[in-house]
Amino acid sequence: MRRMSVFPQHGTALGNLGLTANEIRQETENNTSELVSDLVNLSAGARFEAIRSLHVPFNEKKTIRNRVNSVKLSKTILAADCRQQVSRSFRRFRASLASAMQHLVIWQDTLKEIGGRFGTSVLSYFLFLKWLLQFNLFSLIINFCFITIPQIVHAPNISSITGFRGLELLTGVGYFNKTVLFYGGYNGEVIVSKPAYNMQLAYFFTIAAYLVLCGVSLIYSTSRSFQKNFALETGPVSGGAWRLLCSWDFSVVNEKAIQYNKNNLAIQLKESLSERLQEKNKMSRSDRIKHLSLHLLAWLLSLGLALGSCAGIYFLGTNRELAFSFSHDPSDLGAEASTLLLPVVVSLFNLIVPLLYSLISKIESYSNPRAKIYISIVRTVILKMSILGILCFYWLSFVPTNISCWESFVGQSVYRLLIIDFIFCLLGIFFGEFLRNVIGTMCIQSLGVPEFDIARNVLDLIYGQTLAWIGIYFSPLLPVMQVLKLFIIFYLKKISLSMNCQPPKHTGRAAQIQTVFIALLFFPSFVGALSMVAFTVWSLKPSDQCGPFQGLNTPFHTIFNWTHSLPETHWVRWIFENILRSELFYYLISLIVLVITYFLWQITRGRKELIKTLREQIVNEGKDKAFLLNKLQNLQKERREMASYRPQDFDQTPHFNPNWMNTLPMDM
């Protein structure tokens, strides 16, 4: 659609060309008629949007709309009028639906308040939390409906060996052992009801469908975020000055916060200026070697710490857990409490090692502060993912062969990890933010109020969500825990934020960091959890005494059994046997995807070339424009001067006298 032109205001664009008031009015009238004729040709929906997006005052929009409507009315017949009525009422319905949905959105006011005081980058943490909450709520609902309710209704077998003691809430064993909270509480019989409900298939497909939907949603969000925030990085100099200026947050209304933002922006501008100056100074060779070796040392230390914590977890924590489950003595509270050692050790490592990382990064020097943030994020992610990796390794290789009903065991482990992580988060809010604020303001003034560290908090959320995704196969009702946890953390963080923290200083590039977090949620976190669940389903033998997949070789065999029970010619069986199980299909798909990727890559390269050429063209046209404007102004000046001299009717237009030197007084 043609871009609507800028309507001249008093004194802007057209006014500068020196046109008279009449000419301006004529020009405006021409523009309006062209605009109206453009709008008349659009469809109703597009026209509606186009009129709304005109950047003119309200009354002019109204006149334009009325003109367009009168033109349309004179052209169309009654039948089209009916269509317009229908489309208008449809539009109104959509608008009212959207406003009704707004009421369902939770936390709307709270989020607006946070955004108003702390800015959009802190707000992005809370929006991320809300998004994770939606994932878990969805999982909870479908698990509850499709797996838990049939199990409870048709085969209640809650035979608790022990009564309820308080320790279960922390450890998840005992009373909770055979309930529907864990894998062991389900059995895989086919429930005899009107349409026979196969519990095995229900369990398998519910979890598979949820994970697939999660994956699709994450891929969609990642790619959209990437496209919005990263793909347009090309340009002459992405110096960042404009980006800093345009990131001024208009939604902040608190006066102190605005003053704070102004100071921050000044500091950031000065920093970016000095960065640009520094770039011009090349570092000497020995300096560069020194920096590189420091970087290498820091990386070695970080990886060493990560490996050390993995080894510590493996050797310290796992013995106690196994010892308890071997003992089978439900009244041994001491041994049961000692199973909590593993989660506490894990949480301690997760808490302390990132602090050590920030100490290590102080010895290095970075070319820009953004690199520092990214590198610290990468190191923390490596730490957390290697901890989870070692735990998964322990769960998948050692546990199934040694423990009966091992899936419930794994589920209980994950449950304990989540609970202790939650408790440590609460402790972190208390010590890390509240006490630090007290110390910073009262005792050691130089420390100051703590900053709200977005990266650390978001990585904690991602870690918790990874655990939840891993645990979903082993404990279908685990999302209950996660939902409660996220709810409580939201309110506690908000209170702690208002009371204790100040917004972070480096707020530039918030959108890019957002993309990085969403991508991290997809790549190590979701993909890791998915591969672990897939490995369990594909190749591990389920336990014989409990769970819906008893007696099968692998849980995946339920699909085989089901398709084999269908008649030979059934379409599901045909698709399964000949397409999903044949390798040729996957080779073809991979080949097609690779070819399409190659084409799109070539198109991208061509477009970059095009952008470069167009830029040069714009520069040339700018020069042309300046030249023509100059000429136009000179012509108009001459024309006016001629008009004012006309009554006297002789030519006195000033023209350049080549002998000007002779006109100067002699004694100069």
């Binding site: 707004q102 990131s247 102004k262 020069k623």
Partner: protein, 188 residues
């Protein structure tokens, strides 16, 4: 229609909904707030509210661009920055969540154009930077830094090299800052 407790008729409401980006709740809220502002003036419905009264709103009180915003959205012939209800709705619509990038960048350009000449030249940019940095001496940019900064800005965004940033160049550089849409927001 007189008096300050007048409600919006259904037709007017649907017209406002059709021609702005605001939802029904937002329009009603804006009407309520605008009526309260008018209350103090004791003027008839449909009259303009002076700039000083508008600037008492909490959302605009501390905004560094409050005067420019009022001047840009005002359609008054006296050029005094007074706003009618439709101007007020225009303001909220441009700063709302659902406004398009083009509308936001257009109005941002006009707000930053302090001398109203249709382009952002070095003086406009200097005033812009000064509004956004602190007023105290240690946070203000020195003359040297200001010159360097404006040079960087022009190098980054002045594509046709005429020494000023016009609307298209501004919109181009804005489209590459993804933070802009989410920060150019005022919600009642």
């Amino acid at each position: 229609m007189g008096g300050t407790s007048s409600k919006l008729s259904k037709d007017l409401l649907s017209e406002y909904q059709e021609l702005t980006f605001l939802t029904k709740q937002e329009i009603l809220m804006a009407h309520k707030i605008f009526s309260e502002l008018q209350d103090k003036e004791n003027g008839p419905y449909g009259a303009r509210v002076s700039m000083e009264k508008v600037l008492t709103l909490p959302e605009l009180k501390s905004n560094p661009f409050r005067k420019r915003i009022c001047q840009v959205f005002s359609t008054s012939d006296l050029k005094d920055g007074s706003l009618s209800f439709e101007d007020f709705l225009d303001l909220l619509s441009a700063f709302s969540d659902s406004a398009t990038l083009e509308i936001k960048s257009h109005y941002a350009f006009r707000i930053f154009d302090f001398d109203d000449d249709g382009t952002l030249d070095a003086r406009d940019l200097e005033k812009l930077v000064n509004s956004l940095t602190g007023e105290t001496d240690d946070t203000r940019l020195t003359g040297e830094e200001m010159k360097q900064l404006i040079g960087n800005i022009l190098e980054e965004s002045d594509i046709d090299k005429d020494g000023t940033v016009n609307l298209s160049e501004f919109q181009h550089v804005i489209s590459r800052s993804p933070d802009f849409v989410s920060s150019f927001k005022i919600v009642l």
